[in-house]
Structures are given as structure tokens and as C-alpha cells.
């Protein structure tokens, strides 16, 4: 089986086993063994919560650094509108784009405008769609991975429209090839990303195709030089007329996708717990009166991405004020979008496949036996979910014991109880729980 590329990686030399990551993982993919965190690869859905929780920078995002792109003749920084929210609200997007050019990219390309185009394409899709509802937004890579793993019956509800970053990358590359007479592979399109999950979407797209993007740099990694470049420009140059406009500017805030649509009934959900609750409802056949559900792994939408620098609430405020000032003027011609939509300009061939977590055993009889053993082991455990064994819950520890990933002696409560019994009873009578 192919190994999955993941958005984060543990640096064992930095990990001191404080287990902050252990409990925040929504899929219980982390174990701490011999004092070091490990990620169970096939369980990880790239949400980045562990990296956010670690105070020792022992879990780091797998993004790129600028030097990796030196082989390209021409580089374009692809700017997520999240970046606009990382500055004071009077700093205009065009100034920030100019700043991106100043810190070393040959050009900077805004993604907000592509977001508006994608919103219009979704409107077209919704208007023609006659299947079961609600449809789901496919733009948060972590949510797509969650659906592939836990809600495979909902895969067909993911709207088969490409993400704004891919559309923008394809457009800007084609434009630059024409303008500069460069070949495809001579242009490096690099996404300035608010979260590590986008890196996975670039390296391993959900569908069988290659990304139009060559790599991703964390917003937090370029922020310092960019801030100096932007401050210098604000002090020295008069404001130019703003070129970035439209409702796509609002995409990074929770509800931004919904407010750029014409759909009458839609819903925006942020945070993995809440998203799972809504997905459960949808899987039960409820919420059929809603057309579109925008889902984000992060509670505040992409504003709350783990590779941003600003406070998510402040970023939200800044973005909303940009939308109030610049959102009303559309940057796209609806008629043209309709034509492009009909030519399948926004759609992707192929299907998103399900990728369930591996069952306990390939043989169903053995899997049932193992689940039974897990249950019995769990009943013997203290069920206080202390995490001292290095598994996040007693149930996940029971699974580790049955699957021979951990010895039962790793449960400190049981071991202490056993030692106490051994001290008070004749040798040979001590047992561990009811196992």
C-alpha cells in the first residue's frame, strides 16, 4: 500500500514526551512511546491540531522553504486571502501583493478572485443538480479526508469543483507562459498557505491528477520579511487604486463561502467536532432541505489555520472589513463563468475514493473476536483516560494491547494495583484486572 504523505512530522530530538498532542488528536492517531510522540500514519487526517498544541516545536508542518524553488526561472507567490487578514485593516491587498513581490517572488497572484469564480461555478452546479441534498464543500482537505475515512457514504455529496488555489495556479501559469515564453516547468507556483493540510492537497490531491501548484510556504514563515516590506511601502509610496475585489475576499472566514453564493438555504460549520455532528445528521438522511454545507476543520475557517500569525478573531474582523469595503464590486463576469462552467473549466475528472481506516482484521470473524477482546480489556482498565500509558483513552489503549502494539503493564493504574495486591497476598495470586 502506498504510504500517505502527511502534513506534520514529529521531530524526535525535540519531543520531550509532555503529551500535549495526545488528547487533541480527533482521530486518536497519536501514541507516546518511550517518551516520544508517534503518529499512526493511516489514522492521521492532517488537521494540524497536534502541531498547534506542542509547545516545544516537536511536531512541525511539512511545508517548503523558499530555497527549494531556486531551480525555477520564474516564481509566483499564490496569495490566499487569509494573508490579507494578517495585517492592519487599512493595509490594502494590493500593497500586500506588492510586498510578496518585494521579498523575492517574481510575481504575486491573488486567489480571492478565483474564489469568486468558484463561488459562481458552485451556483451553476447547484442550479443544475437534482440529486440528494445537502451538497458539501470540498475545499478543506482535512474534511475531505475525514469523509473518505469515516463517512464514505457522503463522498458523492462533495461538489466536484476544483479549489480556488488550483484554478488560480492554472490561470497564472498559463498567463505567464504566454507572456514570458516560458515552459510549464520553468515557472514555480508557490502557495502561501494558512495550514499544513493544503500542503497534502498539493502533494497528494484527492483525485488522480497532479496539482498545478509546486509547493507551499507557511504564512508564518514569510510573515516577518513581508511585514517589513509592507511597512516600508506604506511609509514611502502613496496608496494605489485597489485591484483586489469581490466576495472571494471573504472565503477564509467561516461562512465566507456561503455568503458568496446565491443558494437560499445553506449552512457553515467550523471545528471538527461540530462538523462530525452535522455529517452524522446528514448520514442519517437529515438536513435534506439544505442545499450547501460549508465545512472547515478549523472553528474559524481558514482564518484559524495553524500556520497563520494573527489571532483568528482579529483576522476575521480584518477580513470582514475588507469585504465591506471591497466585496461589493464583483471581479468576475457571471456570463463568462457560466460559459466556462459549461466547458467543464472548473470541474475535475474522476471520483474521490473512500479511504477507510483499516479494520481490526481483514477476516470479519477475527475482527469480531478482536473487538470482543478489546471490550474485555477495556472493562478491566480504570477508564479514567489518564493517558499515562501513552494512548489517549483507555479504549484506544485496549486496542493497542489486543493488536500487540503495547503491553498491558503500560497501564500504570493496573500495575500499581497489582503491586499492592502482590505486597499483601501470597505470591502467585496477583492478577491484572479481569484479563
Amino acid at each position: 500500500m502506498r504510504e500517505y504523505f502527511h502534513s506534520v512530522r514529529v521531530v524526535p530530538e525535540r519531543c520531550i514526551g509532555r503529551m500535549a498532542c495526545l488528547k487533541v488528536c480527533p482521530t486518536e492517531a497519536i501514541r507516546v512511546r518511550h517518551g516520544k510522540a508517534e503518529i499512526l500514519e493511516d489514522r492521521c487526517i492532517d488537521c494540524g491540531e497536534c502541531a498547534r498544541a506542542c509547545r516545544h516545536s516537536a511536531i512541525i508542518p511539512q511545508t517548503s522553504s523558499f530555497t527549494e524553488f531556486s531551480e525555477f526561472k520564474y516564481t509566483v507567490g499564490l496569495v490566499s486571502p487569509v494573508l490579507y487578514g494578517q495585517f492592519r485593516k487599512d493595509v490594502l491587498p494590493s500593497t500586500i501583493l506588492a510586498g510578496v513581490r518585494k521579498i523575492g517572488f517574481d510575481d504575486a497572484c491573488d486567489v480571492a478572485c478565483a474564489s469568486e469564480a468558484v463561488s459562481a461555478a458552485i451556483d451553476e452546479y447547484l442550479a443544475r443538480y437534482r440529486g440528494p441534498l445537502p451538497l458539501l464543500s470540498p475545499f478543506c482537505p482535512t474534511i475531505v479526508r475525514l469523509i473518505q475515512a469515516r463517512y464514505p457514504s457522503l463522498i458523492d455529496l462533495l461538489i466536484p469543483i476544483d479549489s480556488p488555489m488550483e484554478i488560480a495556479a492554472r490561470d497564472v501559469r498559463n498567463k505567464k507562459m504566454k507572456e514570458l515564453g516560458l515552459k510549464w516547468n520553468e515557472i514555480g507556483v508557490i502557495y502561501l498557505t494558512p495550514c499544513p493540510a493544503k500542503m497534502v492537497a498539493i502533494k497528494y490531491p484527492h483525485r488522480k491528477r497532479t496539482s498545478h501548484i509546486d509547493g507551499a510556504i507557511a504564512i508564518s514563515d514569510i510573515y516577518r520579511p513581508l511585514l517589513s516590506a509592507v511597512s516600508e511601502m506604506i511609509n514611502n509610496a502613496p496608496e494605489t487604486e485597489e485591484s483586489v475585489k469581490g466576495l472571494g475576499l471573504g472565503w477564509p472566514v467561516l461562512g465566507g463561502q456561503v455568503s458568496a453564493l446565491r443558494a437560499e438555504s445553506s449552512l457553515a460549520v467550523g471545528g471538527l467536532g461540530d462538523v462530525e455532528r452535522i455529517l452524522e445528521e446528514i448520514e442519517r438522511g437529515k438536513l435534506g432541505d439544505i442545499q450547501f454545507v460549508e465545512c472547515h476543520a478549523c472553528a474559524q475557517g481558514c482564518c484559524g489555520g495553524s500556520l497563520t500569525v494573527g489571532d483568528p478573531y482579529v483576522t476575521r474582523g480584518t477580513i470582514l472589513s475588507l469585504v465591506a469595503r471591497l466585496g461589493k464590486v464583483p471581479c468576475q463576469d457571471r456570463e463568462k463563468i457560466r460559459e466556462l462552467f459549461q466547458k467543464r473549466y472548473f470541474s475535475l475528472p474522476g471520483k474521490i475514493s473512500s479511504r477507510p481506516f483499516a479494520p481490526l482484521d481483514k477476516d470479519i470473524g477475527k475482527a469480531i473476536e478482536k473487538r470482543k477482546q478489546i471490550q474485555e480489556t477495556h472493562e478491566a482498565l480504570p477508564q479514567i483516560n489518564c493517558g499515562a500509558c501513552g494512548a489517549p483513552t483507555c479504549l484506544s489503549f485496549a486496542e493497542d494491547v489486543v493488536l500487540e502494539r503495547a503491553p498491558i503493564e503500560d497501564c500504570v493504574v493496573l500495575t500499581a494495583r497489582q503491586a499492592r495486591t502482590a505486597a499483601n497476598a501470597p505470591p502467585g495470586l496477583a492478577t491484572i484486572g479481569r484479563c
Binding site: 457514504s153 452524522e280 442519517r284 479494520p359 470479519i364 470473524g365 469480531i368 471490550q375
Partner: protein
């Protein structure tokens, strides 16, 4: 002869407990996923057990839900202490409901519960005694 593999778990359900409502069927879904049941069957079992669980929460005082999994079938058995159903045939009809306004305001009680269970199950047995309670036996074949 060795006995066939069997997984068994029981869940307690409290009537009117809207905070805990749905937890048993979500747990059942997780267990079936771990065992490696196909996703379409998981979905059917999840819908049926959710409807059964909600019936206990909405109408009964308390109840239990039991899950039994063998390599041949999945069985969900629900037993409650509650008002019981006087006319089962009528209650099985789509849209028939005895739900109070309060329940309807919460978005439940559309009269689809029992028919939804039947639609998703391979086998469905329902017994009820007025004033005592109701038992359901829902079977899915693997």
C-alpha cells in the same frame, strides 16, 4: 466445535435525555467500522439504531439497546419501559405520529421512525404491551 465469534454490547438509554441522545448509535457505528462491515450496511444499521434509540429517548422512561455481531448478521435489540404502542400497524405507517408539540418543535416526531427502521433492516420484529413498553429486534445480514 468452537463457538462462532460473537461481539456483544449493551447500552442504557434514558428517556428525555436529549444531551446523551444518539450516543449509543454513534458508538455502534464506530464498532461496526472497526469490525470492517461495509459502509452501506453501516449506514443502514446506523440509521435504524438511531431511530430506535430516539424512540426510547422521546417516548419511554428508560430502555436498553443491545448490539450483537456475528460473521453472519448484526442484531440490534431495543427494550424500553414506556407507554407502549396500542396499534402497531398504524404506528408503522409513514407520517403517523403521537408526538407532542414539544417533541415536534425539536424537529422530531415526524412519524418516520418505525418505517425508517423497517426500510433499512433485513428483518424487523416489534412487540408492544400498552402501559409496559416496547421491544424491537432489528437484523441486518452480512
Amino acid at each position: 466445535m468452537p463457538s462462532e465469534p460473537l461481539f456483544w454490547q449493551r447500552f442504557d438509554i434514558c428517556g428525555r435525555d436529549f444531551v446523551g441522545a444518539g450516543k449509543a448509535s454513534i458508538t455502534i457505528k464506530g464498532i461496526l467500522r472497526e469490525i470492517g462491515v461495509s459502509s452501506s450496511l453501516i449506514r443502514r444499521a446506523a440509521i435504524a439504531s438511531y431511530e430506535a434509540e430516539m424512540n426510547v429517548v422521546l417516548y419511554a422512561t428508560k430502555g436498553t439497546m443491545e448490539l450483537k455481531v456475528t460473521p453472519k448478521d448484526i442484531r440490534v435489540m431495543v427494550e424500553d419501559e414506556g407507554p407502549g404502542i396500542p396499534d402497531i400497524e398504524l404506528a408503522m405507517r409513514e407520517g403517523y405520529s403521537t408526538a407532542s408539540d414539544e417533541i415536534r418543535e425539536m424537529g422530531f416526531g415526524a412519524g418516520m421512525g418505525l418505517s425508517n427502521i423497517k426500510k433499512n433492516a433485513d428483518d424487523f420484529i416489534i412487540r408492544s404491551l400498552v402501559g409496559k413498553g416496547t421491544t424491537l429486534e432489528i437484523t441486518f445480514r452480512l
